[in-house]
Each structure stands twice: as structure tokens, then as C-alpha cells.
């Protein structure tokens, strides 16, 4: 497993070199979103009020940001689960030209296919460590704050060597967690056996 320190905006070749299981750190300008923003744009047909051309890393996140002396201060930050945004994942990758999505968990098959086609990766955290991250994040700006509220707004962050994140979907269409599933299925069969549960056990159907 290799370790990469990448700078945004990312290029196709930046992300094509990444394989599932690699560790990445990111530097540069990124933006955040949660489901309310994607619903607002893709379902309610509003126009995204900014360009993602030079800001092609999306972090699924609802940060805690407070205003102090007229300036934004990031109190807490932790990537949130991407899988719940699967409905809009492929369209986000395509329409916004994303090269990397940062989020907990992973994306589904439809988004992974689009990521392979458009050269984009998904990376996820390996810790819950907001305090190790907030010091490397500068709040630059916010969009759709009035429309969507503080948590669901699109925050513009400038990040400095933010990570580590593990690549869980690469541009070859592979998913780290699919590999994990195979390993866990084997471990599970063994665990059930050790608990004395018959491999052919079927629940008595009550409903």
C-alpha cells in the first residue's frame, strides 16, 4: 500500500495512480455537501451557485462552524457516511466533474461505475479524530447558507495535508469493502461454527 500527498485541483493522472488500500492526504481547496444540497440541485433543479472546475474534491460532511468576531471558526469536522447519498452520487461525479469524494463508508455500484468512467475515487477516514483535522482546515466561504442552513450548506475549505484517508473505490472500479466482505464472510462462517450454530440454520418463519 502506497501513501500519496495530493494537491487540488486533482488531475486524471493524480487519481488514476491510486489503488484501493492506498493512503492519501489532500491539500488545497475543497467543498462540502450533504443530502439537502444534492436534493436542492438535482431534485429541485436549482443551479449550483459556484464552479467546481478548480474545486474538484467533495467532502461529505456537516461541520460545526460558528461565527466569532465576524469570522467563521470550524469547531468540529468529521466526514459523514457517503452511502446515503448514493441516489445522487453518479450525477454529482458527472455534473460537478469530481475527482475525489471524501466520506465515511463508501458509494454504491452506480456511482462506482461513473467514477471508473470519469476517473474519480472515493476515500474514507480510518479514525474519528476531529481535533487532529480542524487545525489543518481553514474556512474560506459558504454558499447556500440561508437556503439550507449551516450543516447542509456548501462550505469552502482550504485544507493542508488533510488525512490519512484510505482509497476504497479506485478508478479501476474496485471497492475495498467488497474485498472486506469476502474476508468477513469467511470469518463469520467460522464464528457461527464456534458458537455451535448449524451452517444450515434457518429461522423458524413467524411472519
Amino acid at each position: 500500500m502506497a501513501e500519496y500527498h495530493l494537491t487540488a485541483p486533482l488531475t486524471d493522472s493524480d487519481v488514476e495512480q491510486l489503488n484501493i488500500g492506498d493512503i492519501v492526504y489532500i491539500t488545497g481547496e475543497v467543498f462540502t455537501c450533504r443530502s439537502r444540497l444534492q436534493k436542492y440541485i438535482f431534485d429541485e433543479k436549482h443551479t449550483l451557485p459556484f464552479s467546481t472546475e478548480k474545486r474538484n474534491i467533495l467532502i461529505h460532511n456537516g461541520p460545526i462552524v460558528i461565527k466569532e468576531d465576524g469570522k467563521w471558526r470550524l469547531v468540529s469536522f468529521m466526514p459523514t457516511s457517503s452511502i446515503r447519498f448514493e441516489k445522487w452520487g453518479a450525477q454529482s461525479v458527472e455534473d460537478w466533474g469530481l475527482k475525489m469524494i471524501v466520506g465515511k463508508t463508501t458509494m454504491g455500484e452506480k456511482t462506482a461505475r461513473m467514477m471508473k468512467e470519469k476517473k474519480c475515487v472515493h476515500v474514507s477516514p480510518r479514525s474519528v479524530s476531529p481535533n487532529l483535522w480542524v487545525d489543518s482546515i481553514e474556512v474560506q466561504d459558504v454558499h447556500l447558507f440561508d437556503e439550507l442552513g449551516s450543516i447542509e450548506a456548501a462550505w469552502f475549505f482550504k485544507v493542508r495535508d488533510l488525512g490519512p484517508f484510505v482509497v476504497d473505490i479506485d478508478t479501476k472500479g474496485r471497492n475495498l469493502f467488497d474485498r472486506m466482505d469476502e474476508k468477513i464472510a469467511r470469518n463469520k462462517a467460522k464464528a457461527l461454527q464456534e458458537l455451535g450454530i448449524d451452517p444450515d440454520f434457518q429461522f423458524t418463519k413467524l411472519y
Binding site: 452511502i83 465515511k104 463508508t105 480510518r126 479514525s127 487532529l132 449551516s150 468477513i184 455451535g196 429461522f203
Partner: protein, 305 residues
Amino acid sequence: MIKTEVYEQVLFETVKRGATELSADVQEAFEAAILRESNPDAKNGLIATLKSMKMSAQRENPLCVDTGWPIFYFKVGNQCQLEGGFVELENAARRAVAKATKMGYLRATMKHPLTGFDPGNNIGMNIPDFTYKFVDGDAIEISYAAKGGGSECFGGTRHRIVAFADGIQGIEKFVIDSFTASARAGAVCPPSVLGIGIGGTANVAANLAKEAACLRTVGSRHPDPMFTKIEEDLYKALNSLGFGILGAGGDTSVLGVNVEYAYTHIAGIAVATSTNCMVARRASSRIDGDSRVTVMKSPMWFGDR
């Protein structure tokens, strides 16, 4: 008579502590997990998480950005006298949550379920949630639990009626199946504190599971050997699955497995699970009848565990 200003301040301090300080038992479980972890990435993840948690206590900021559903548990002495009574206790709890949100200890996470309306203070219909238990004495013990969205939304909380024909095998199979599905890709933020409720109606089992996940001291054991065995067997089995921190591989998938039970109907056994995330946020305080306030290390919701 315990004055409103006394319990309101205790409520606020308890919410703040629950949001910003890792419980001692959870910290011990983390330290043990770090020592036994053989996967270097998982070990680094556990170390980074524990480091950040310790910084939260110093910086007085939330342990995790998702500050969860605000849930209160009150263990009330039969002779406990509160100024304004229990209606005022609940009002004071709402004020404490709103204040903690305004001060940035809690994120404004609670929304209207249909419109998505955000009141901005985590207060709304049936939220915060209140649960009571009555005991002898004149004290009130206040526990605050912050139940995270990840641990609650991705299948970590579910139930099934198991036939008596399937017995313990059925119960354990259901738990292993549920946990395996919900911990995929780290969805429920493992390593989890897993609560299991056995028996009662489905909602009784679900409440027991939630209380076992959120309130039981991590590392405690059910005193009945039949249930101790289920806890220990499942702890070993779940940790052999290999999820590790956030599901990307490692030796610790659960920090604890806590089982509580109720008698059930001859027709079937309700079994419910509730996973709490690795941060397992909670805090407890006690106010005696003479208004003496004590910070409790653990909720002790189920007697000595």
C-alpha cells in the same frame, strides 16, 4: 426540595460533559484495543481517535461532529422533591440542550422528519427523549446519552421475533447477522458497544437494547451466568469478524457486548440490537435530596452495571 437552578445547571453540565469528555470505561476499552491491535492502520486509527478524544476534553469541543439524538435517563428516588416537579425538569432539560447547542457543544442536528425544518436548537416534537426509572431514596440521577446517527441509521438498531424452537442459536445468529450487515464499510462506526435486549414486547426489547448500549459500563457483565455466557461468546465471535475501526480491517469490532432481558410471551422471544458508536457518549450526575451534586463515573442504570 431541589431547586430548579440547581438541577438546570446539573443538566447543562451533564450534557456538556457527555458531548465533550470520553467516559473512563470507554477510554480503558480503547487503550486495551490499541494494545492488542495487530493491523497497523487500525492501530493508528485507534490511537488518533483516542488522541482527538482527549483533546476534546481540553478544548471543550464535541468528541464527534455528529452530536446525536439527545436522550435523557432519570433514575428518581421515590421521595425525591423537585421544585416545579417533573414537567419543569423536562423544561430545564430542553433549555440545557438549547444552551449547549448555542454554545457549540452540540451541533443543531435534530430536524423535522418530513420537512427537514431545523429549529437550530435540537428541540422539537418528542425530542429530547426522556426515560424514567423509580428507586428508593430522595436523590435523582441524571444520565445524558448522545446517540449518533451512524450507529442508529445503518441497521445497528433492529429487532426480530425469534421462535422458542430456535432459542439461543436463533438469538445469536440474529445478532451476528445484524452486526455483520450494519458494520460493513464502518457504517455504524465500529468498534461498537453492542446492546442486546431479549424478551418483552418488541419495544421493551428495543429499549433494553438501547439502554444496554448507551448506559451499561463497558466491561461490566450481566450477573446471571446464562446471560454472561451470551455476552462473552458474542464478544469473542464479533471480534473474530475482522471489521476493525471503521470497517477497513482490524482485531476489535466491538468494545463491549451488553445483554439485558425481560420475561416474554410463550409465543416468541423479541430480540433487539442497538449499536453505540466507538465514542459511546454519555455522562451522569447525581443530586441528593439535600442538593449535594456528585459527578458519576458511569450511569449505573442497571444497579451495579
